[in-house]
Symmetry: C2
C-alpha cells in the first residue's frame, strides 16, 4: 500500500505523534522521579501498574499499523527534509523499528526478569551471596541475548544493545579507544604508586553538616547556571537526573555528614546532566529530540562540570571563600591547595562510583569486557566472580575480598542493562575533547572560572551541544564540535598533566 | 449490531478497560498533585500538555466504538450481575455516556475558558476588579450551560451539572433540606448575636511555630489512622487531598505561624478525606470504584474528623496535654475549656473557608442560589455582585465591603465548577447523620475519643463507608448506613445542642 499524501502532511502527522509520545515520555519521567523521591512505600505495586499502562499505550502507538505506514511513507520522502525534521523522522523510525522487532512476549518476560532481578540482587548484595543471584542473572543474560538477536539483524548482538545507548557506536570502536587508554592509565597509575607524594584526603572525612552541604551545593549549581525556576534538587538513595521536559529538570543527591565528596561532587555531576537538558532549545519541546543525544554525551557534561570544572584549581580559586565561610570547623588549618589536592587523591580501589578520575575508566573496561563476553556466550554466569576478580587484580592491582564489593556492586545487570557501561568511559573521553574545543573558543576561560563566571562556558556548551538535543547523533555531534572522532588522546594528556603534576610523576 | 459474547467475557473486557482507565486517573492525579506541590514554576506549560495528552487518551478510550459496543452489550445483561460488578458497569456506562454526549469542540473550548478564567480571576481578585472578570465568567456560564444541555437530556440543566458531583441529587432535593436548615441556622444565629456570652478566640492568633504545628498535625492524623506508609502530608498554597490510588493518598496544608486553626483543623479535615480513600477495600484497586462515592460523602468525612471529632471536648480531653507540651508559650494561662471554646467561636463573616460550623452552610446556600440562577439564565453576570451582597446582608447580616471579599473570593466558577457548592453543605448534614449511626453502634465512642482511641470509630466508618468506594451511590449509601434519607434535622439538633450550650441560648 502506497501512501500518496504530500510530504508536508506526512510530516505534520509525524510531529503530532512525536508530540504525544514526548508527553508520555515526560509522564513516565515524573512517575519514575516520584517513585525514587517522595512516593510512599506502600504505593509500589500501584505505581508498577501505572507505569506499565503508560508504557503499553506508548508501545501500542509506536507499533500501530498507522505508525508503520507513516514511517514507511516518510522514509520514501525523507531526503526532502533536513535539520530537525529529518532528525525527528530518524528518531520516530528508530523507535518504531525497535518496538516492532521485539516480540511482545519478550518485553513482558524481560520486565518481570528485571523487576525480579533487582529484588534478588538487593538481597544478594546485602548477604554477599552471588550464588543466590546467579539464576536470575543467567535468565537476564539469556533474555537480553534473545532481545539483542531480534535487534541486531545479523550483526553482533552486543553492539545492538550498546547501540540503544550510543547510536552509531560499536564494541570495535569502544575497544579502539579503550586499548590505548588502558595502557596509558596503567602506566600513570604505576608511577603514582611509586611516587613519594602522598595526598592526604582526610579533610573530606571530617564533620560536614548536611544542611550546609545543601546550601553550598545549591549555590554552586545555580552559579553554574542550573535554573531552579525550571528544575529542582531533592534527596534520593541513588542520585540521578530526570528531565520531565526541558522546563522541568530534577536532580537528586544524598548527603553523608562525614564525607563531603558524595553530595558536593554529586550535585555538580547531576548539575551537568541538568544543564544539558535545560539547555535544549525551546523549539524542540514536544518532539522526540527534546533530550540529550546519548548516554555518553550526557556523561561528558556531568563529568565536565564535576571534574574538569569542579575539581580544578581554577574553580576553587573562586569558590573557596564561601566554603571556608560555611565550614570553619571542618576547614580549620586546611589550605585551599591542600583541599584541592584532597579532592583529587588517586586511590585504586574496589568501588566504581567512588573512583577517582585516573582509575574510573579501568572499572568500566572490566565491566565492558565481562558483559560483552556474557552476551556473546563466551563467559558463563557461574564464572563471573572469578573473571571479575582476575581483572581487578590485573587492571587495578586490587584483591577483591568479597562479591558484595566485587561483581555484585552495580545494579545495572540486575536491571537488564547490558551495553550501558561503556558510555561512562566514553563520556569521560568526550568531556576533555569538548573542553579543549571550549578552551580554544574561549581564551579567557580559565580566568573566568577563577572569577566564578560560568556563563561563557555554559553559553558555549549550550550553543554547541545542549540546544541541539537529539538532532545530531553522538559521534556526529562530537565531530561538529571538535572536528575529531572519538579519541583517548586528549583525556590521557589531561590525566598526565593534572596528576603528573600533583604526584610529581610527569613523563 | 448485537454482541453475542458471554456475559463473563464482556465483564472481563470491562474490567480490563476499567483497570487501564483507573491507572490513567491515578497518573492524572500525580500530575495534578505535583503541579500544586513540587513542580517548578517554569514547567506550567509543559505540564498542561502532559495532562491534556493523558486526558485525550482517556477520552478516546471511553468514547471508542469498541467501548460503545461493550457498554451496549453489558446493559443488556447487567441484571445478571450484582455487587461491585454491577456498580462497575454502572460507572463505565456513566463515564461513556457523559463523554459521548459532550462534543469534542466544547471540551476544548471549556478547557481553554477554564484555564483563562482562573488566570483572569486571580488578577481580578487581587485588584478587586469584578468588571475585568465579568467577560470570562459570562463565557464560562454560557459554555457550562451548553454543556449542561448536552448532559441533561431535556431535564433541568443545573441538575445535570450537580449530578456529576452528586449522582442522584437534584436542586429540588437540595432546596428541600436547605430551606429548614436556613431557618434554623438564622434563628440560632440571632440568639447567639443576642447572647451575653462572648467567646474569645485570641489565643488562636498567638505565635504558633509552624514546624511544631506540623509535628502536632502529623501526630494527630496518624492517631486518627492516616497511614503514612500509604500517604504523605505536604505543603501547598491551597490545601487539598489527592488519592493516586488507595495506597498513595496525599494530603496538603498551609501553615500560618500566627493562626493555629488554618493548619491544625486543615490537617484534620484533609485527614478525613485521606482516611476515606485509604480505607477503600484492596479488592477495588484498578477498578472505577477505587475512590469515594461523591463530593458530599467525601466532605462528610472531612467534616466529621475536623469538626465532630476535632473541635469536640472529647477530642481535646485526650489531645490537650500534648498541645500544651508543644506550645507552652502560646498556651500560657489558657485552660483547655477556654481553648475548646475558642475553637468553636461563631462569627458571621465574609469568607466561606474561614466560617464556623454555624454560619458555613449559609455561605453555601448563597452560592447555590446564585449559580442555579446563572445557569438557569435568571441572573445576568453583570448583576452578580449586587445579588451576592444582598444575600450576604439577608442571610449573614454582613455588609460586603468589596468584591474581593465578596463574589470574587472562590475559584470555583472561574474554573468552570458549577453545581459543586451544594456538596459542601450536604456533606455537613451527612456528617452528623453518619456520626449518629456511629454513636448508636459504638456506645463507648465518647469515652474512646476522650482516651485518644480512634480505631473503633475509624474501623466502623471503614466497614460501613470507606471500604465500599464507589460501589453504592451517595444517597443509597446514606440510606444503608443510617436508615434515612438526607435530612437537615440531625445537623440542626447538633448545632442547637453544641452552640446553644456554648452561648447559653438553648431553646
Amino acid at each position: 500500500m502506497t501512501d500518496t499524501r504530500e510530504p508536508g502532511s506526512l510530516l505534520a502527522e509525524a510531529r503530532e505523534l512525536g508530540a504525544v509520545l514526548s508527553d508520555l515520555n515526560q509522564v513516565s519521567g515524573l512517575l519514575g522521579w516520584d517513585q525514587q523521591t517522595f512516593m510512599p512505600k506502600g504505593a509500589a505495586s500501584q505505581r508498577g501498574n501505572q507505569i506499565a499502562t503508560v508504557q503499553t499505550l506508548q508501545h501500542d502507538m509506536i507499533t500501530s499499523t498507522r505508525t508503520a505506514e507513516l514511517v514507511r511513507a516518510l522514509t520514501d520522502v525523507q531526503d526532502q527534509f533536513g535539520g530537525t525534521d529529518r532528525a525527528m523522522i530518524r528518531e520516530l523510525r528508530r523507535a518504531h523499528e525497535r518496538a516492532t522487532r521485539i516480540p511482545a512476549r519478550l518485553v513482558v518476560e524481560l520486565a518481570h526478569a528485571e523487576s525480579e532481578g533487582v529484588g534478588v540482587w538487593t538481597e544478594a548484595r546485602a548477604n554477599n551471596d552471588f550464588a543466590s543471584f546467579a539464576p536470575a542473572l543467567r535468565r537476564l543474560v539469556a533474555l537480553s541475548r534473545e532481545r539483542a538477536q531480534h535487534l541486531s539483524d545479523g550483526h553482533d548482538p552486543y553492539d545492538a544493545l550498546h547501540d540503544e545507548f550510543e547510536p552509531g557506536s560499536t564494541s570495535a570502536g569502544v575497544q579502539a579507544v579503550f586499548a590505548p587508554l588502558r595502557v596509558a592509565t596503567m602506566s600513570l597509575l604505576d608511577r603514582i604508586r611509586g611516587s613519594d607524594v602522598h595526598v592526604d584526603d582526610a579533610v573530606l572525612r571530617r564533620s560536614w553538616p548536611s544542611d550546609l552541604q545543601e546550601t553550598f551545593g545549591r549555590e554552586q549549581s545555580a552559579r553554574f547556571g542550573f535554573d531552579y525556576s525550571r528544575g529542582r534538587l531533592d534527596r534520593s538513595v541513588h542520585p540521578f537526573a530526570e528531565a520531565i521536559g526541558r522546563d522541568d529538570v530534577r536532580i537528586t543527591t544524598r548527603y553523608d555528614a562525614n564525607f563531603l565528596s558524595t553530595a558536593l561532587y554529586g550535585i555538580l555531576h547531576e548539575t551537568g546532566h541538568g544543564l544539558y537538558e535545560q539547555g535544549v532549545a525551546p523549539e524542540l519541546r514536544r518532539t522526540l529530540l527534546e533530550q540529550g543525544t546519548s548516554m555518553a554525551v550526557h556523561e561528558s557534561q556531568s563529568r565536565l562540570w564535576e571534574n574538569l570544572v569542579g575539581r580544578s584549581e581554577d574553580f576553587w580559586h573562586g569558590a573557596w571563600p564561601r566554603l571556608a565561610e560555611l565550614f570553619p570547623d571542618a576547614l580549620k588549618g586546611v589550605t585551599r591547595d591542600a583541599f584541592v589536592r584532597a579532592s583529587n587523591a588517586v586511590r585504586p580501589d574496589l568501588i566504581r562510583v567512588e573512583a577517582d578520575e585516573v582509575t574510573y575508566n579501568l572499572h568500566i573496561m572490566i565491566r565492558f569486557e565481562l558483559e560483552r563476553d556474557l552476551i556473546g556466550g563466551k563467559l558463563d554466569v557461574v564464572d563471573l566472580p572469578e573473571a571479575w576478580n582476575t581483572l581487578y587484580l590485573d587492571y587495578l592491582g586490587t584483591e577483591v575480598p568479597d562479591d558484595a564489593r566485587g561483581c555484585l556492586q552495580d545494579v545495572h545487570w540486575a536491571a537488564g542493562l547490558f551495553g550501558y557501561f561503556p558510555s561512562y568511559a566514553l563520556g569521560n573521553l568526550m568531556s576533555v575533547q569538548f573542553m579543549q574545543a571550549a578552551r580554544a573558543a574561549l581564551p579567557d576561560l580559565s580566568e573566568q572560572v577563577r572569577a566564578g563566571q560560568f556563563d561563557p562556558l555554559r553559553d558555549w556548551l549550550t550553543e554547541n551541544i545542549y540546544r541541539h538535543g537529539k538532532t545530531y547523533e553522538p559521534l556526529e555531534l562530537l565531530g561538529r564540535v571538535t572536528g575529531n572522532g572519538l579519541d583517548a588522546g586528549p583525556y590521557i594528556a589531561y590525566l598526565e598533566e593534572k596528576f603528573g603534576t600533583i604526584y610529581g610523576v610527569m613523563t
